[in-house]
Symmetry: C3
């Protein structure tokens, strides 16, 4: 497909520029995220080239929306105060035109999460990141998937659907938000509702370490501070693919893999990013 | 002792089966635990072969009791909401016949912890895990130790008593719950109130890294999802002994030891588990 | 300067004694700190030779003030309950004459942090630790800097001022508290309001890992449990400089650097500590 081939070249160029811009600007990203993976999210954001600040309080979410290049909002392991702080931060981003990334971890568990998610619909996240089941469940919760109901069952934090099963839901979400959706899995899918980009790389060890999904979401926000949604989502996802492939080479197990991954993310250069296999097609 | 020797062979066989079952089933375990060690607990549960989900809210504790193979409830660094969420999760487990592991971290500090622990008595934890002082203090708090009061003074999160000093309290607790008790120390003690199993291995570096006790508790819950209480408690404890011994071989200090430990836990095979020195005697 | 040269020799002797005393006593330090870096703070305190206990609740803060050798109070990522627990713990330390370390992370963000800080003024922290902008902002917030207003703008958790710009503010703070102030940066500054000690070492990688500042604050509290404020602040800072320099030698990136750092902190001996370049002058 000539159009898509052309678009792929352009996308690769934009992705390379985004990496350079992150390294040059060290964008500040505020995050409201679960306590389990806060350390990993912050260290991944720093390794990718950003600056990280984690918060809980509603007033701080609003302040960080104003002070940051982008926000990262993650729904794992909620506390009662997240009922106020996450929607307030999302609304502030929406009103300021500030990019923000939504990670609907745990969707389907509990009424607090359901209430928060229903408020976030109108705030239109710049990027949604999740596994296939989370993306399917979010499109359904927001009434964007008009097909027959199937999939979207989350098992704790694990997907029960393959990435390909979420392609229609991801495109519907992206069309609603006007942004991008990144579906994480053995092969990642990124879409803006017009094109669907497939990103290959990483390692099965990523699913044996807690927080790879969350930390990717945090890194997508770093890129969203300097690039358009599709470019940012592909750039962050491709960084994870490249660093994950590299880290798996010498790893003895999940913990040495995590250490090698963060080192590889920090050392990632344009050549390694350009070597990540990407394909593009119409969504 | 013929009986005990026979039981030891049976126990070794059950432990080997439990490891295989965990690897085959990837049991989901929900945890309510302190923020300090959440990352380590989750990564240890994943390395051992389970799936991990951490929660704070009462409604999520009840939902996870229904969705999980077992729960892990840890009393370190309490927040006010734990007053509701920990007893609610324990009660749900008790009512559903779902295994759950209690880690009475910080026992003796504060009235909130005292209130929670008094509610947990009737929910009869499948496995109790603690250091010697915590186990002595718990048996006393639950009125199960009718001897003269001695020991059980916790210094922050550290034991002030040797493991052997907790053998009577551990057996009394196990007889009350009908489950097992694992006392962590230089040499670990596991009992179901009838037999006392001693597990040798590990490394003194385990006490120079935060969360080794908590993460063991989380791994015991992974095994409790597939095996009876005594088998689960011995299996998890023996995995820690084997992986700890292995990790100490190349470690340069506590942080490289932790990395090597999680890698070793992930790579642990039946032969390494079978090589852990165990002894068994009547409790 | 004869006086200062003499003082430098004395200081080096006191610092060496403090390291020995920490290793001999394993002082228990209670901490109220943010969830992002709790794991790193605890592991650094353990590696340095202390024992760590993290808490959230007001009643536990007061209990830990009584039970600990010193407390560490950090204002990052506040929860509503910190409005009570941090001032209560500081007041308990003040009333008991117990050393405590203040880390004013995020100063300038939000009214909750402002309210807490205004209450802490009268509790006179034994050691204040922060980056240059945080120290300038704290001196201003407490009305201790009578010069023309400049600097003190914090960008998330990052400094926007060089260490030298905070020398007057640091000295003013130390004179108010009667303790010491440690300003972290490429070259660290420690002062008790009479002398200013410069500590050289570490690595730029320290700013690419979350929590190096927080964990240093936690380690300063370990030293404050056994030594006077200036000695404790110089000793902890010099340990970080020595371990950071050592860790940078073989590190492949920020994550392997963090692992090597904690190992180096654990293995640090008197000779390595004595080799850290120090200079002293009048404040």
């Amino acid at each position: 497909m000539t159009v898509a081939s052309h678009t792929l070249d352009e996308l690769r160029k934009d992705v390379a520029l985004a990496l350079g811009d992150v390294r040059a600007a060290t964008p500040l990203v505020g995050s409201i995220t679960n306590a389990i993976t806060m350390d990993f999210v912050a260290n991944a954001q720093l390794a990718a080239g950003g600056s990280a600040a984690m918060i809980y309080l509603p007033e701080e979410g609003v302040a960080m929306a104003a002070a940051s290049g982008a926000l990262y909002l993650n729904l794992g392991a909620l506390l009662p105060l997240h009922r106020d702080s996450i929607p307030a931060a999302a609304r502030a981003c929406h009103d300021l035109g500030r990019p923000w990334v939504l990670d609907p971890v745990g969707i389907g568990i509990g009424s607090l999460r359901e209430d928060i998610l229903s408020e976030l619909r109108a705030c239109k996240p710049t990027i949604v990141r999740g596994n296939a089941s989370e993306v399917i469940a979010l499109a359904r919760a927001w009434g964007l998937d008009d097909g027959p109901e199937q999939g979207g069952e989350v098992r704790g934090v694990d997907a029960t659907d393959p990435v390909a099963a979420a392609s229609r839901a991801a495109a519907a979400l992206a069309r609603w938000t006007g942004g991008a959706v990144a579906v994480s899995g053995p092969e990642d899918l990124v879409t803006d509702g017009r094109v669907a980009v497939s990103v290959t790389g990483g390692s099965p060890l990523m699913s044996r370490v807690t927080g790879f999904g969350c930390s990717l979401g945090g890194v997508l926000a770093v890129f969203a501070a300097v690039a358009d949604p599709l470019t940012a989502a592909v750039a962050g996802t491709a960084c994870y693919a490249a660093a994950g492939t590299r880290a798996a080479e010498g790893a003895q197990g999940p913990a040495s893999f995590k250490v090698a991954f963060l080192d590889a993310l920090y050392n990632l250069d344009a050549a390694a990013l350009a070597a990540v296999p990407l394909t593009i097609e119409e969504a």
